[in-house]
Amino acid sequence: MTKGIIPIILLSAIIHLGFITRFYLLGKAPAGLYLDEAAQGYNAYSILKTGKDEFGKSFPIVFRSFADFKTPVYIYLVVPLIPIFDLTPFTVRFPSFFFSVLTIPLLYFLIKKLSPISTAVAIISALLLAISPWHILFGRTNFECNVALFLLLLAVLFFYLALKKPALLVLSAFFFAFTIPAYHSQRVIVPLLLLLLLVRHHRLLFSRDYQRYTVIAFVVGLLISLPTLSIINTPGFLARAATLNIFTQVSSGNLSWYQGPLDWLINAPWYLSIKEFFALYVSYFSPRNLFLLGDYGPRSSFPDLATLFTWQFPFYLYGLYRLVIEKKLGELKFLMLSLLLISPLPAAVTRDPFTTIRALPMVIPLSFIVSLGLLRTYQAISPALRKVALCIFGLTIIYSLFNLYSSAIVLNERFRAPFWDYGWEQVVARLDTLDQNLPVVVDNARAEPYSQILFFTKFDPATYQRENFEVPLSGYYTNLSRNPVKNIGRITVRSINWEPDLIKEQYLVGDSLAISLDQIKLNKMTLIEEIKYPDGSPAYRIVLTNPDYQKAVRVK
């Protein structure tokens, strides 16, 4: 099985499987386009048309967007795709899909390069990654983490190749340096992983033959990182870490009602913070999270499906045990354990219980661990029963694919559409058919739909930059204040102010809370359109005001 052409055929089949699971209805499922996806897409469009982002900043190092300062690599990857595929949900999700599929053979080659045991474990790992709900979810949607994971693995592969060909160290440094600005959590993962690799291989890296390449690699990495380093102390760079970390808020478990003399000990911040950190860290290894609950976020999970399939649980436990005790795994053991232990660190300092997006690199060691468990179990079975075991395994994979289809395509579309901001494409399309001379007010009391409106209208970026102001460009990375009003041609995105807005003839757009049916009836407005979610519940309403009625009522 493991010799000759068979592994290549199997790998090819697995890549095709990975392609299908990620490409099927790409751009259409999940239905809708979340505001972050739209913001990334429109900023890429703006860069393409003007060389500046939505705020008029030339080629930013991090993108200000909603003052959450998005990492730049993904956005710049979308730029060249727009002339090819146009500005569509498919386009903004394409880099995730593309690099997610490429990660499958990359994992195979990395494990094959390091594996002293057999090619089978590399094949099974690639297969499990190809059908992994965790990896697929971020491969079908616009999340930067998948591109970052690909770059990280590529950098690691070149590092190991460089142990025989020192010149490849430069390429490794190149990809490591690009991984850091690819996703926030990589700012922690890359330095820690690099440190471990350097400590483990310091003798070789600083030997006479390698010294020159090590220095060149360091310089290359430093040069690529210079833009990022130049803003490292700005509030913009630190925005995500500052708002999400567990150390800047009241620790969980604080007994606020206790005011006694032992308060300093009972509510000791050092105790509560350390305990919370470890509770969060351990939760990334918890079978309950991995096999049952998954990510609590409706956009970073599929309904009724966790990060791993339930049937993988015994192999997870056994594989973990084998990984720890098998010394002959050598460098592969070192790498997988390092990735396994480092990957949850950035996620564990944030207050969310189990965020799969921040801990995505864990999917690599987890795929390997389950594969190792499967392989060792298979080897422990008597040869007479192995064919039966293979048949059961094949049927299990088929069932897993059905499960995946049921959750990722069918249930996700029906039950998660509101969380993917479904409906703005339809709103924009409907507005295009209405009287173009009338102004439009889009309510933003509970959301920030301006990015979706910019995206679906493909509004001219130069005009938008000219007609909107948030902060001076000198304060782009440092000033975190926001302007809640956005002007997009005849469309104004702001909170509806009923008193003045009703006496002007215009279209109002809002969700079912902002514009209720009672409100429409009371003010004799005309319901132009009600956009509905796939489950039939109202998403957004477009109404035409009735200023004549308002004037008559107010005169009375």
Binding site: F278, L280, V282, F291, V324, F402
Partner: protein
């Protein structure tokens, strides 16, 4: 070293029984056992048909919808929920997630979180544990049975098995990695001060 081992064992094992004693939970064990039998995963639920039908109706193929959503998958879902809670280290060492409230007594910390090191070491040295395979099998058999119903407080039956593993971990580590053991034990003692104080203070909120 012997004293340190004894202190470590005491601090590791005292918390769960102490929590039950301090909160008088042990007095409810009888009714909990009755609840265990009454609230089985097979007991009827008025909401179940609604949930199953809501999901089924989404599928274009009726057969596919029925295969993916039926009574068996619903009951299996309940079983999984119990099973993975009972195999979750956060359940035993942190009272689940720090910001998660499930049920009051399930949120009690059963062992000091530093003692997780000793449990992991016991599994690392699994081959040395006397009757290790038997104990592990017993643990999973017990977990499966507990998962069939409301395991609330009844899960205390798992305590002896986990205690044996942890005592083995403590003993093995003290012999094989004395420096690591000393460091872990000292940390355990330091963290036990607020931990045990909180166990008493929590009585009068």
């Amino acid at each position: 070293m012997k004293l340190l081992i004894k202190i470590t064992i005491c601090l590791t094992l005292a918390l769960w029984p102490l929590s039950l004693a301090l909160t008088n939970s042990y007095k409810d064990m009888g009714s909990d056992l009755a609840n265990y039998l009454r609230f089985s995963i097979f007991s009827p639920d008025d909401q179940a048909p609604l949930i199953i039908n809501a999901k089924r109706s989404v599928f274009s193929s009726d057969l596919f919808g029925r295969v993916m959503n039926n009574k068996v998958t619903f009951i299996y879902g309940r079983f999984k929920s119990n099973f993975f809670s009972l195999t979750d280290p956060n359940n035993y060492f942190f009272g689940f997630h720090p910001r998660e409230i499930i049920r009051q007594n399930l949120n009690i910390e059963k062992f000091p979180f530093i003692s997780l090191i000793f449990l992991l070491y016991a599994f690392y040295r699994f081959n040395q544990v006397r009757h290790g395979k038997f104990l592990l099998t017993l643990f999973f058999v017990a977990v499966v049975f507990l998962s069939l119903a409301n395991f609330d407080k009844v899960d205390f039956v798992l305590y002896p098995i986990l205690a044996i593993f942890m005592v083995h971990g403590i003993r093995a580590m003290s012999q094989e990695k004395p420096k690591l053991f000393t460091a872990a034990s000292l940390l355990l003692i330091i963290f036990s001060v607020p931990l045990y104080l909180r166990a008493f203070v929590n009585l009068t909120p």
